[in-house]
Subunit: 447 residues, 2 copies
């Protein structure tokens, strides 16, 4: 085994989080003095079967990191150690920095197959190097936000809380996942570091182990409620309804105790919620809320909501934390132009769109999405709102554009209201949302 | 959006990668002066439908990190900022360290449902705090190693190379994933930082963009082969067999060029491999190898191998990188003993095994796995080899035990030969591998 125990990846090492061929190609470009400008386009070819749209997320974060990327002396000495690089090339890498432009969709924008959601224009050795890192960073947040928004839709306004840190894929997924969840509209997270970093309310309840470590459930409830006024008590360790009755008894015994909610974490959640609600209401505790968790996904939440289960908030973990039904999208980062000439790989059966592009979104008279048009970037008089914005220009992050990310959560909220109903259905199935190519792009593609 | 742009998680912040309730329960234990020793057991209840065993991985790494975990002053001030913790408790956290014992299976051990693969014995406020972090760390490496070993089995001795960094879930998954891949038996990775940190050979080929950026495929091949003797050329940008013919022509023109392999990345890989092999052999290049990639998983590799496709190595990415068919296992970390008394949650339909445990693996006369027995830890004369070892004792990592992790790759290799054939089949299905409870554990469970 490697004796590398720390899981810390310093900002200075981040530049090494790439595929080796990026660096060998870079050295080749450097040796060949190839430094014309290239454009790479980030997109995906198809939706997972269980998604009707993806929520573009992480691209502003990735662009911001790319604009600051450097080869630290530690990174350079690690590369030197591989024996694969010339000293003169490593010297050149020491001065490497991104000087190009990055266009992105604002985070939280619903996005469809073949739509450019990021375009990088830069000398080829700059744009090429970003490929692996950008894809890794964007894929994570996009996949998680696109799953999380489905839970938010299913809950129809009831708060959804992330309890999934323990089941996510490692440290970075858990921390940056909260950023995606915030964008998608989750109400809170149990994840302390994720919540602190990415400005989402942190909350939590108690674990079964706390109950079991006490001499009795009653002792455990009493102690926890004394420590934490307005806490949530986990009532299913032995028997859910007995647990609810015990909370009620305890509050009768100690009128100063304040409990804000009970949490159901096993069994038939709908049935137990109804019966718990009845017990609480009967005892005069109409204000004690019911939180449910236990392997929930968008379909079980939808069913509970449609059945009228009196559940006030949902805690979700495993299924959302890895986007279990669609843990990956086939993101591509393709060269579409070099030295002013549109380029494209001629793969059979795959759409490849040459040249620098812009995405336009059209709306109907009610403000609802009516369809998208993918066009050449400098094409005039295309119908609709241009969606890609120049977040990084000349290697510099535009703070005013970056600030759009602050509104990503609100953008998602309003998008959900502006999408055709077929896009917001949770069941697998095609939507007929129209994505067309502009006339000029069609002509360019045919050449 | 959060303005937290760095994705770096310092070792000093790692302690905050936890669920809030761990910290609120800790404060409760501290207020209640509950400091008896607890034992928590890490296990999973069932295999994903497409796995016949899991490869335990990451538990030594997680234990090593746990033994060094501290609340840095930065972590404490972030906690103070939440307003949820008393100053006196935060002072106590400043001195918090793990002083207990951690028993683990050696990494690379095949593991089955309900088997303890890690047990933590410590004062409850120490053992409790580790829950979320250990689960997050162990789950990632276990899920990825358990997927990767299936690709290794499918390839029957042909090298399997990780090309998946861009599709993994963020920075830590990509870097630590390579550690899991090394254990599982992959031959190499394209991931520079992952390979450097976790001691797996780094290699790579070239991207379509390099071909497209040159005036012709021939120019690109020539340039790259001059820069990198014995390189691999990617031949499918326009037409795979034309690409192979071009490599042959180029080598005829420039006898000094040396190419070690061609890479096929689209189309019918079996058919193209046969035809490419024929072209190369006919031209006298029997030593040029063929590498195939393009959405491969264990089933497509198995089919190619069984069909006798002349492919010398496989590059795999997307499916392996997120373990797409089984991205998560339902790991549990359960309190099984407190203050010397075995404890257990009485859930309907779930197996919960009280008390401190040991796992024994029995072998038949040929040295093959014959079945496992889960026993009480201090039980005598249980048949088989005891599998859990005390990696951390009194808060100190045992370097000689930790060194077992160096052999994890070899442990996996030999395990594959020692498992009953039913366990090594790739198709979904039950194996009848016996996992039993010892007589004493059965008695304890019934009490």
């Amino acid at each position: 085994m490697s004796q590398h125990l720390s899981v810390q990846v310093d900002d200075g090492d981040l530049v090494l989080l790439t595929d080796l061929y990026q660096l060998t190609m870079l050295q080749a470009y450097w040796k060949e003095s190839m430094q014309e400008r290239a454009t790479f386009s980030l997109f995906f070819r198809k939706l997972p079967p269980t998604r009707r749209f993806m929520l573009a997320c992480g691209q502003q974060h990735a662009a911001a990191l790319a604009s600051r990327l450097r080869f630290s002396s530690s990174a350079l000495s690690q590369l030197a150690g591989t024996g694969k690089f010339d000293d003169a090339f490593l010297d050149w890498l020491a001065g490497w920095r991104f000087t190009g432009d990055i266009w992105t969709l604002p985070e939280g924008t619903p996005v469809f197959p073949n739509e450019p959601y990021m375009e990088v224009d830069a000398p080829i050795a700059e744009a090429q190097l970003l490929e692996s890192l950008i894809m890794n960073l964007v894929q994570l947040e996009t996949v998680l936000a696109s799953k999380a928004v489905r839970l938010v839709m299913a809950a129809r306004g009831r708060p959804v809380v992330d309890f999934g840190m323990r089941r996510m894929h490692g440290v970075d997924a858990a921390v940056r996942g909260v950023r995606a969840y915030r964008t998608a509209g989750l109400a809170a997270t149990s994840n302390v570091l994720g919540g602190l970093r990415h400005d989402l309310e942190i909350n939590g309840t108690m674990a079964h182990s706390y109950i079991l470590a006490h001499d009795s459930e009653r002792e455990a409830f009493r102690a926890f409620a004394r420590h934490y006024p307005d806490t949530t008590l986990l009532v299913d360790t032995h028997d859910t309804l007995e647990g609810v009755r015990m909370v009620i008894e305890l509050m009768a015994e100690e009128p100063d105790l304040r409990v804000s909610a009970v949490r159901l974490d096993s069994g038939d959640l709908g049935e137990l919620a109804h019966r718990s609600r009845a017990l609480l209401d009967e005892a005069g505790f109409e204000d004690i809320k019911i939180i449910a968790s236990s392997g929930l996904d968008e379909f079980s939440i939808q069913e509970l909501v449609e059945d009228g289960a009196p559940i006030d908030a949902f805690g979700v973990g495993t299924q959302m934390g890895v986007s279990a039904d669609a843990p990956v999208i086939d993101l591509s980062y393709k060269l579409v132009e070099y030295a002013g000439i549109p380029r494209v790989k001629h793969s059979t059966g795959k759409v490849n769109l040459p040249g620098r592009k812009q995405l336009y979104r059209r709306r109907d008279a009610q403000g609802r999405y009516a369809g998208d048009i993918i066009a050449n970037r400098d094409e005039r008089s295309v119908d609709g709102e241009p969606m890609l914005v120049p977040l990084v220009q000349g290697g510099k992050l535009d703070a005013s554009v970056m600030a759009m990310a602050v509104d990503a959560r609100e953008r998602v909220r309003s998008s959900l209201a502006e999408m055709p109903e077929a896009l917001t259905r949770l069941a697998p199935g095609e939507s007929d949302y129209p994505v067309e190519l502009s006339e000029e792009l069609k002509r360019l593609q045919q050449r």
